[in-house]
Amino acid sequence: MNDLINDLYQEIILDHGREPRNFGECEPHNKSADGHNPLCGDNLKLTFLLNDQNIIEDIKFTGEGCAISLASASLMTEKLKGKKIEVAEEIFKDFTNLVSGSDEDLKVLNEEDSLYALKGVGGFPMRVKCATMAWHAFNQALKD
């Protein structure tokens, strides 16, 4: 099998694509945003609860999409749960660099992270938007 395809669809991606974690709506929540990829119609709704210490207490998503977008959203919720907002923002920046094939050094993510499995998206420029949809929704929710 082609290396590019194996890099893109690592087992963890296929697994999270098939069975996304933290799928649903966070109740209660105080932050939410919709993600949408107008090019293909994939969409998601992200909800999370930010407590008074700026820690993400719970985070969930619903939506429909390809394996990359679902796995990315699923891995994102796993990674961000329990994180302080400042740390989450750093992870967002790192992740965006990781999947867009940017040479910029990663500050908080490393090869041990499950999110690193999405690095293969860099070989498919048209799929970067699939991988970042949930993250942009997260970023949007912070701004709102």
Binding site: M1, N2, L4, I5, L8, Y9, L14, L39, C40, G41, D42, E64, G65, C66, A67, I68, F124, R127, C130
Partner: protein
Amino acid sequence: MDNSKTLNLNVRKDFPILSKKILEKKDLIYFDTAASAQKPNTVINETNDFYKNHYSNVSRGVHTLSVESTFRYEDARKKVQKFLNARSENEIIFTKSATEGINLVAQTFYEKFMQKGDEVILSLIEHHSNLIPWFFLRDKYGVVLKFANIQTSGEIDIDHFNSLFTNKTKIVSLTHLSNVFGTELNEKAISICKDKNIPILLDGCQSAAHLKIDVQKLGCDFFVFSGHKTYGPAGIGVLYGTENLLSEMPPYQGGGGMIGDVSLEGASYAELPAKYEAGTPPLVEAHGLGIAIDYMNKIGFDNIIEHENEITKYAFNKLNEIDFIEIHGGDNKRNSIISFNIKNVHSHEVSSFLDVEGIAIRAGHHCCQPLMKHLGVNSTARLSFGVYNSLEEVDKFVIALHKCKEFFNK
């Protein structure tokens, strides 16, 4: 190959891009002609030659280059007129795209013939480019839009379509060939419009390179298509309109080239077709489109249609045999387009997987989100064929589909 008949137009050599290797080793199999067709050498070389040897602005200067450019631009119009069998060159308006043609008609037809509460009939299978220009009329002016249902075959439900007409119906706009199903518009839809004396616009983006178009025989009032889907350059489109309607409707954009006489108090407008061509037009692209039309004519539309029907039927039968494939639309006659899904695999995955096999197909909503909603899917994968495709390519594609299914359901 298990097919005794293999019609080959022997045109692959005309398309330099088809010798490109994908990821350095895979032969390119281009099944995305419905999104945009590849360009033959004649189009590439002739547009190059225009820039190298003849280029200037059109219809403005009197010098040699201006004459040469103008000749090529207007010659392209003649070719388009013959291509569509329009009555006169005055009925051929060059636009930047088919989309612009629809916007032009929506805006100027409204201005001349419609008011708040008047109705436009469209259908569920329309491309966004034949929806949004009409949405603008609804949002800005209170025009009412009605949508004909489709049958499971992918064809418009003619009875429902017929029932949508009222004494407020002013115009109908429908796709001539569905970019999702490949189904051709039932001629009855046009004859219903004729009987009721309601103008009809046909979106010919998918039909112009795959069917022999005769606007007089069709009986449509407007017809749009784009250069890039007919083996010509992007950035050029065509609007055909009957001289009567185009004469009565007001200009679309104002600017150079579309005027009769201008003073600070006002202006008169140029005669057709210049009236609708404000600004310097995509002149080289128009020439390129003319060359593309020559190219299609040289192959011959009878041959094109026979070849594409054969390959479409072959692919349909192959896909239909596979239990994990769901084909959208019925098993009726399709022209050059098949939309499908692999069960439980998103079309993005299918497209990315096939990409590394060298196979280019489209995945997504195909600019038909209302139709996707109706089909109950988020997106589909789409195969579409052109003159350069072969049955062997379909066989390779089918093998790749099996590998894809295996990979994602392991």
